[in-house]
């Protein structure tokens, strides 16, 4: 990240002209409003009594109550969904990052037949419409279950397998770029010192690529935490994740908007906080890898 240190320097010795500063203010104000409007609605509505959210919208709650934050756990089994999402997204992240590290190491450090086929194929799976393999995958999981007894359909395991492949292409792609930016001399030196290829990977390449790996992990977790389509088809009551569970507040006769907003906020906090804390790694990782 040598660029980071330079970023602090003023770009030009002259201060930008007033026209630029005003344009900047207007654009930034607009984008800030646009980005934060739903966040404000989410936070303020989650602190409102039910009358406030069933009647005309109010910018300021008529009274502030934290009741919705207690009620959300009873209206639907939110804690249960939360645990499911945490397990699925956590496992998918760990597996996806591990597999991506191995693949990226192979592509970055070895020359072998089929390298280009591999990278192109993996990347092009990104363009497949999810809907095209949703049903066949569903049938494969059901059939594997019927013939081997390994329950993938409706299980967290099936969802973990599916989600980890969603983040895999981007992770591999980004880590290849990142590994390429680490001088080869480093792992060659480690090999001279008696490390095998795995020693060189874990003692030299991985430690040097931590920012890239963190970035990939953040991406993988967010992908798994937010996915809706496969979660809605591949889970049952027992394994339901937040993506589907959150709709439980809305399908009943009364729509408890204040509780929905409270629950949305609760499920968002872990990823938003984690993301904002780690986003500089994502930018650094993209800078070193993907956008080169």
């Amino acid at each position: 990240m040598p660029n980071k240190a330079l970023a602090g320097k003023a770009r030009s010795p002259l201060a930008p002209p007033a026209s630029f500063r005003w344009t900047r203010r207007i654009i930034l104000a607009f984008l800030t409003t646009f980005a934060l409007l739903p966040v404000y609605v989410m936070v303020s509505s989650s602190l409102k009594p039910l009358e406030d959210v069933t009647d005309t919208f109010q910018w300021i709650p008529s009274e502030i109550t934290i009741r919705p934050y207690f009620d959300i756990w009873d209206t639907v089994p939110l804690a249960h969904y939360f645990m499911n999402s945490l397990l699925v997204a956590g496992a998918a992240t760990v597996l996806s990052v591990t597999i991506a590290v191995f693949s990226a190491y192979a592509v970055s450090r070895y020359r072998f037949r089929g390298k280009r086929v591999f990278t192109v194929t993996v990347l092009s799976t990104q363009m497949f419409p999810g809907i095209l393999f949703l049903l066949p995958l569903f049938l494969i999981f059901v059939n594997i279950g019927n013939s081997t007894g390994v329950a993938l359909y409706g299980s967290r395991g099936g969802l973990i397998l599916t989600y980890l492949t969603f983040s895999l292409p981007f992770s591999i792609w980004m880590l290849i770029g990142y590994f390429d930016s680490i001088p080869r001399d480093l792992d060659e030196a480690a090999k001279v010192d008696g490390c095998g290829p795995f020693g060189a990977l874990f003692r030299v390449v991985v430690p040097a690529a931590i920012p890239g790996i963190v970035a990939v992990a953040v991406y993988a977790f967010m992908t798994a935490w937010g996915e809706v389509l496969f979660a809605s088809v591949m889970t049952n009551d027992e394994t339901r994740t937040l993506a589907v569970g959150l709709q439980g507040y809305a399908t009943q006769n009364d729509v408890y908007w204040n509780q929905i907003m409270a629950a949305s906020l609760v499920v968002s906090v872990p990823v938003v906080v984690g993301f904002l804390l780690l986003q500089r790694y994502l930018v650094a990782g993209l800078t070193a890898g993907a956008v080169k």
Partner: protein
């Protein structure tokens, strides 16, 4: 390129010198070094390849096979026996005079329009934000975090919030447009009818512009600062610098970014699904949700698969044309 050849040589040398340590690593004496070295990359790729096969490649092939069969709920548990129908499913899907094909064509138009508007606006917002935050000033880090928040929020939580904002009687949008600004004669419906298209675009842009911002911000960091310094010494103003240095330097990033945004937006399922539920209003009937409905709601998987295959072919075609066109343009202008 020589570095990829050297490791085996060095390794066998060091193994001979090291005695014990070297012998321990050579548990498999029958396999020559050359083959072990040759096999290693494949071993490293194996988990990724197996998973891609299981979750993407094999299902895709099965999906293509399914598109040639009559796969209704009668055959769902025994889909190997579903009757072969050759191109019947495709004929149904592209028979634009019949209701099914007409609906698909309409959905395709809606998706194209939606994609063009959403990608365009997302790119524009992301570019504006990245350029405006390129230079350091007080509050820059905070704004960066603010702009990335929509990207960080889980899709369903964010889109549910938008659904609440777009409610007719108790939503924020109508409160502002009707009650506070008096722009409409009466509160509009946003989640049904023609307005639903606008609602969908607003939510999709809100959700995807931070990604454009993120990529472009990363791309900007690779532009050498000397370029700007040289330009400003030569008397180029800030607007000129943006036009002459920033935009051309971002070309390679833009090539990837626009393609990725296009593919994600075109295939978007989550946004309409959470915003409207299982059946989207006609004006916002995106292709993904249309196919989902044709498959899961009406239990006609053969036709649904045929539609998915057509969608994939279309995406492949657009991607290929796009890559050829943009790569040639790049070579021609000599930007490399």
């Amino acid at each position: 390129m020589t570095s990829t050849v050297t490791p085996p040589v060095r390794k066998s040398g060091s193994g001979a010198d090291q005695g014990d340590g070297g012998a321990r690593r050579r548990r498999l004496p029958r396999i020559p070094d050359r083959i072990r070295q040759g096999g290693l990359p494949y071993l490293l790729l194996l988990p990724a390849v197996l998973l891609e096969l299981l979750v993407h490649i094999v299902p895709m092939v099965i999906g293509i096979v399914m598109s040639f069969r009559e796969l209704t709920q009668l055959y769902i548990n025994n889909w190997g026996n579903a009757p072969w129908r050759a191109f019947d499913n495709y004929k149904i899907a592209v028979d634009f005079d019949a209701p099914l094909g007409e609906a698909l064509l309409h959905s395709f138009y809606v998706t194209c329009l939606f994609t063009v508007i959403t990608v365009g606006l997302s790119w524009l917002f992301g570019m504006a934000a990245a350029v405006m935050l390129q230079e350091n000033f007080r509050g820059r880090g905070l704004l960066r975090a603010v702009f990335l928040t929509p990207y960080a929020l889980p899709v369903y939580a964010a889109v549910i919030t938008w659904a609440f904002m777009f409610q007719r009687d108790n939503g924020m949008i109508n409160h502002v447009l009707h009650d506070q600004l008096g722009l409409t004669d009466e509160p509009s419906f946003w989640l049904i009818g023609d307005n639903s298209f606008i609602a969908l675009v607003v939510v999709a842009v809100w959700k995807s512009w931070p990604f454009a911002f993120l990529m472009l911000m990363a791309g900007l960091q690779n532009i050498p600062r000397e370029l700007y310094e040289a330009a400003s010494i030569d008397g180029a103003g800030i607007w000129q610098q943006i036009r002459k240095i920033t935009l051309p330097s971002l070309r390679p990033v833009n090539q990837v970014l626009v393609l990725v945004l296009f593919l994600w937006t075109f295939n978007d399922f989550n946004t309409p699904y959470v915003l409207f539920g299982e059946s989207a209003p006609e004006a916002a009937d995106l292709i993904s949700i249309h196919i989902y409905q044709s498959s899961f709601v009406t239990w006609n998987f053969g036709t649904g698969s045929a539609m998915s295959v057509l969608l994939l072919l279309f995406l492949l075609l657009v991607t290929a044309v796009y890559l050829v066109a943009t790569s040639r343009g790049r070579k021609g202008s000599g930007a490399e």
